[in-house]
Subunit: 345 residues, 2 copies
């Protein structure tokens, strides 16, 4: 008897059903620059006309094994926000405005309901980032993923005027470092965090942890903050007093902050008290502090390097936006000849 | 004793080693518009200045379970070309020039050697497509992928002048449909093809198939053709005589060609003889012809809808570029009120 693609494990009709369910979600995220709706071979977007010498800024990321927490707990509605955050925050660190986002969703067998919840979370994230969900790919790959598991990748493109580009070129000795809080682990360090809770502490995702006031799963699934709108407010407040932004991802403050430091400098950082989730992990491993600082954001999602003369104005603006800002320290000269690094003081 | 991220299965040093190995590969693909090298938080690219009313065109895709063939046979050097092809060809169907590409590589345990071979193939693909490999993400996710397995997603952005945008709006009754050959299955239908060879025919990837003159694995791994340079030659030859391009991917000619048809039309298509690989699959399943046409490209990787008056010039230009072009048929009026479809004649 003749065989079909569906019998081989790929259900094109389910894929098309999902596309129909995604369309209204994507439509909610439209921005004026978007030209075509999802459905063609490719997404179309204009370049904003109010930007001098526009540069395209692009980034891709996943959410690591935070996915396994979402899958194990059956909570699929916020992992999409994490995905957008990881990409859009990277874009924002260049000073760019995120324009559009595309997602890749891969699974062994497509569950349209779960995929829709994941992608609804992506659309929510796009709204928070101010960018349009302009396309995506849903891949059903029999034999590749375990039953009920899926992977996610995100791609984001933004735009910035060449002279507004932030980064190490603009950072100077004397710049203040302002820390902006994270909401939790964001989307990095989950392999270690899962190991600590599951193996070292013997706690399942549904175990209630008194210090946290939540279950392990709830604490681990708190969505990653999305910073582009906050960055935009900061730029409005201090203009070119904003020199660089560090998105604290895998590698923590230790490995990420040096990426915005020019040669001949180092960052002197006084870390604020660790939020309780990080203290629980630190004690539960135990995980030594240097490893903690090189693996987790430790409470800081974003670090701004600002001109010292504008630091007060930056703090005022961020506070007005509801942020608890931490003055972490400053950029100092370093004549050691070593690569720029973080000195914890 | 204190535990570390590495003990939890994530080796940041291996990841950094890989980044160093990727840098020269990416550098080979640079185009003048690229501003920053890989390594910052995001990739930077200028917008070409010679394009009036530029639109950004973006697409994302994976390579489906062709990956499992690459993994099972240990041949990791061309799957990257497939990934670029799937994305860059979609961009080219809009008439856009691919500008830059980003990849997502996810695995359970990072094997730097394999990842480097995969990404070298991605860089090769970018060179063939004329776009720059501007960034990427390597995700090591313990517990998520089986040992030795990995997934890939790609993301491509291109640019086209608004008036040069190709698509159904430009297609007219009387347009000729020109078929451009595929190199094999490209990157779609592998779940069915694997089922046919493995289960129905009982042939492993290393089995030699006399009709094919190769092993099953070799036949299945032939890299996907990358069409943007050919599209560019066709545009140069017939200008606005080129109305639309259909990238024949999942869904085959049956489901993809209608995506470039305007309402009130249908495509009358006379398929050329099936290349031998598709005949082997057809007989080996057996797979009925309508299912074959809805699952595989059946020998046609790209279909151009061209103004009838320029069809000869198009064929001449494509032939001069070494292509075997097939005149498949034409666009006809359809007053049925149904959605545009393909009529095989």
């Amino acid at each position: 008897m003749a065989i079909t693609y569906r019998e081989a494990g790929v259900d094109i009709d389910a894929g098309e059903d999902l596309v129909e369910r995604i369309k209204p979600l994507a439509k909610r995220t439209r921005i004026p620059e978007v030209v075509a709706d999802i459905g063609g071979f490719a997404g179309l977007c204009q370049i904003p006309t109010d930007i001098e010498e526009p540069l395209l800024v692009s980034g891709t990321d996943g959410v690591g094994t935070k996915l396994l927490v979402a899958i194990a707990t059956g909570r699929h509605d916020t992992i999409g926000q994490d995905l957008v955050a990881m990409c859009a925050n990277d874009i924002a660190t260049c000073g760019a405005r995120p324009l559009f986002f595309l997602d890749y969703f891969a699974c062994g067998k497509l569950d349209v309901g779960i995929a829709e919840r994941v992608i609804a979370g992506i659309a929510d994230g796009c709204s928070l980032a101010g960018c349009a969900l302009i396309g995506g790919e849903t891949a059903e790959m029999p034999g590749m993923y375990k039953s009920g598991e899926y992977d996610l990748a995100g791609f984001c493109v933004g735009v910035v005027g060449r002279r507004q580009l932030l980064g190490p070129d603009k950072v100077r000795v004397g710049d203040r470092l302002l820390g902006i809080t994270s909401s939790g682990l964001h989307s990095n360090g989950y392999s270690l965090a899962r190991r600590v809770f599951e193996t070292q502490m013997g706690l399942g995702f549904d175990a209630h942890v008194p210090e946290l006031g939540t279950t392990v799963g709830e604490a681990l699934l708190v969505p990653t903050r999305i910073y582009p709108r906050l960055v935009s407010q900061l730029k409005t407040a201090i203009g070119d007093g904003l020199h660089a932004l560090c998105h604290v991802t895998g590698g923590g403050v230790t490995d990420n902050l040096p990426r915005v430091l020019p040669p001949g400098t180092r960052a002197q950082v006084r870390m604020p008290e660790l939020p309780v989730l990080f203290r629980v992990i630190q004690a539960g491993g135990p995980v030594e502090l240097p490893e903690l600082l090189r693996t987790f954001n430790c409470g800081l999602g974003l670090i701004a390097a600002v001109d010292a003369s504008r630091a007060d104005a930056a703090v005022t603006a961020l506070s007005a936006a509801g942020e608890q800002v931490v003055d972490l320290g400053e950029i100092v000269a370093d004549t050691s000849g070593n690569e720029p690094c973080v000195e914890y003081v």
